[in-house]
Symmetry: C2
Subunit: 361 residues, 2 copies
């Protein structure tokens, strides 16, 4: 099932390690799908070999068993030193600390890496390269620190240029909430389309996507004046080599914290089509913001309304993340949404991305 993603030779994005670099994934105390999204995304999709996951609370287990990602036979170890022994060349910080501040124990792990021939990569809001201590140690030992969330210079205000990409299909994954699988669906549908002979690619718009694809811009870390411009830049870049461009969605139009990121992405990318992503268990807007999500029919109507006057786009299919449901329940959830919306509905992990790829051909 696993087809490693081929990295394009893109100039848009931060400096990145090679797709052959052997990674260790720091997920200290948090190697779970929700809290270590970046580690899980890398395990599932990145071309890089992974030599170890570092989480002393689960040391001795195997990442394959803990994640269910079949092609990753990776030991979970307790210490950075063990990961170095296993051949780690780059340590990737696979979790995000609350408030963006690094715990003291992580700082020591980063210093251990830099002092022992290992580069460090992170997608934090604050940049490793801006830390004087890290910078001095990296300089002294000739090591590199990759800050994948640092946006490139020279991003401007969006110009609407993606509307002029004649013959290109721009497909944005949107969602009922954050963390419902928008990145995964973009990747899976692009891969499925390529298997069917379509010149398709996907556009990374967040830190994990950049770790996977080796290029991209974390648009949530761009000044709001230029966020749509960043999305536009990415789509224009991807359009050079593809006819169907799957754009990784961010946030959600109904998530009060991140809706502006979502709308910037919509107006920067100027999609021709949407794929809707949904998780069958509550994620953030309901428990954290007290928002009652409307029906899927209304969700779709809202998204199509928002783009009606700039570039009309239709929702072509729905991807449901049924990971918390049993087989019968998962099938019933998909069938109910299909009956309600008359759209193709699938769980791309459980049933594959075929129905969504077909809807775009």
């Amino acid at each position: 099932m696993h087809t490693p993603h081929v990295r394009p030779a893109s100039t848009v994005g931060p400096e990145m390690y090679e797709p052959t670099a052997r990674l260790g994934l720091l997920a200290e105390g948090k190697f779970h799908p929700r809290s270590a999204k970046t580690a899980f995304g890398i395990l599932r999709h990145a071309p890089n070999p992974v030599v170890a996951v570092i989480d002393h609370t689960q040391a001795g287990k195997n990442a394959r068993d803990l994640s269910g990602i079949a092609h990753r036979d990776v030991p979970v170890v307790a210490t950075v030193e063990e990961a170095i022994t296993l051949g780690m060349e780059v340590m990737v910080i696979g979790i995000a600390p609350r408030g963006g501040l690094l715990p003291e124990s992580w700082r020591q792990m980063i210093i251990t890496c830099l002092s022992n021939g290992v580069d460090v990569a992170a997608g934090l809001h604050t940049f490793l390269n801006d830390d004087p201590t890290f910078a001095e140690i990296a300089e002294r030992h000739g090591r590199r620190m990759y800050d994948v969330r640092r946006p490139p210079h020279g991003i401007g205000v969006a110009t609407g240029a993606c509307r002029d990409l004649a013959g290109k299909r721009i497909v944005l994954t949107v969602g009922t909430d954050c963390a419902v699988g928008k990145k995964h669906v973009a990747i899976a549908v692009a891969e499925e389309l390529r298997r069917r002979g379509v010149r398709a690619t996907w556009v990374p718009t967040g830190q994990t996507g950049i770790f996977i694809a080796g290029w991209g811009i974390a648009i949530d870390n761009v000044l709001s004046d230029f966020t749509a411009g960043a999305a536009e830049l990415l789509v224009l870049e991807a359009a050079k080599e593809a006819d169907v461009i799957l754009v990784e969605g961010q946030g959600a139009l109904l998530h009060p914290g991140y809706s502006g990121v979502t709308l910037s992405l919509i107006h920067g990318a100027m999609p021709t089509d949407f794929l809707f992503c949904h998780a069958s268990s509550p994620v953030a807007i309901e428990p954290e913001y007290g928002i009652t999500p409307p029906s899927m029919t209304e969700m779709i109507a809202l998204h199509e309304h928002v783009v009606r006057h700039t570039r009309p786009a239709k929702v072509r299919g729905i991807a449901v993340n049924t990971s918390t449901a049993g087989d019968a329940e998962a099938r019933a959830q998909c069938d109910a949404l299909a009956a309600e919306t008359r759209l193709p509905v699938t769980d791309v992990i459980r049933y594959g991305a075929g129905p969504l790829a077909e809807a775009l051909m």
Copy 2:
């Protein structure tokens, strides 16, 4: 007519000069309403005395005649030196250079100020304080540089807290485009409500608003992840001293470059009501983006749809900027919109803010 705005003792925002500081406004070659929005906003609304406008192409004229702002008898001069002679204590850069880079002649003007006892204030994307040359000269001469667009530290992701402000009315000015008068309407309606005995205030969300009010955050210069959070912080601050809070709008929901800023503001501020702002001559989305603006009825429907599931809000009135129209035409435009929408419609400069204030009482 002019009632100077009283600055609140707010701690939210950049370091600012005093409301009594004597200003000179740099508008070199561009002292026109469109290109010197900041200079015009300060002349119209700021409490500070203004001793000179600097624009050598219009030297010898009077800012009152050029701007139509009756209470500002201000000479336009050719040089910084003349403004210093007239008593300038702070030079405010009242125009924004394309691409954010300062022309060499402006750099020299800033250095002349700093070397001759004059502080400098700017709302540029790049900060004066980050320029090593300026920083060194300011340090040597004991001068200050005010970067009003620099956001405060510690802005977080929006939490939806403004929905919990019991008994407060939060009124956001939204618009059919950028530069249609959203700030001016917020200020004018807040003033009109205060005249009628309501505890009303307004919230500055952009650089000109900060120059006027002496506090605020330029939300377009905040990372997109935190833009709604910045808007929330401002409204919570204003709610400490007011029952009706007029929030200065930014961008436009149909402006592809800035729509994300607009939606962040909507979901951060969680308005209870909207006031709609419109200019009767085309501004940006039509000529620059090729977007055909829908009818006002549809514009209103779109805005009310976007907030239906987070916090429902209604449009209560419309402000038209008829500055390019004659008297009869202006009246006809307002009457036509009132007939179409059955809402109160006014031009707050031509006819006053009364109808909008009444709609909120």
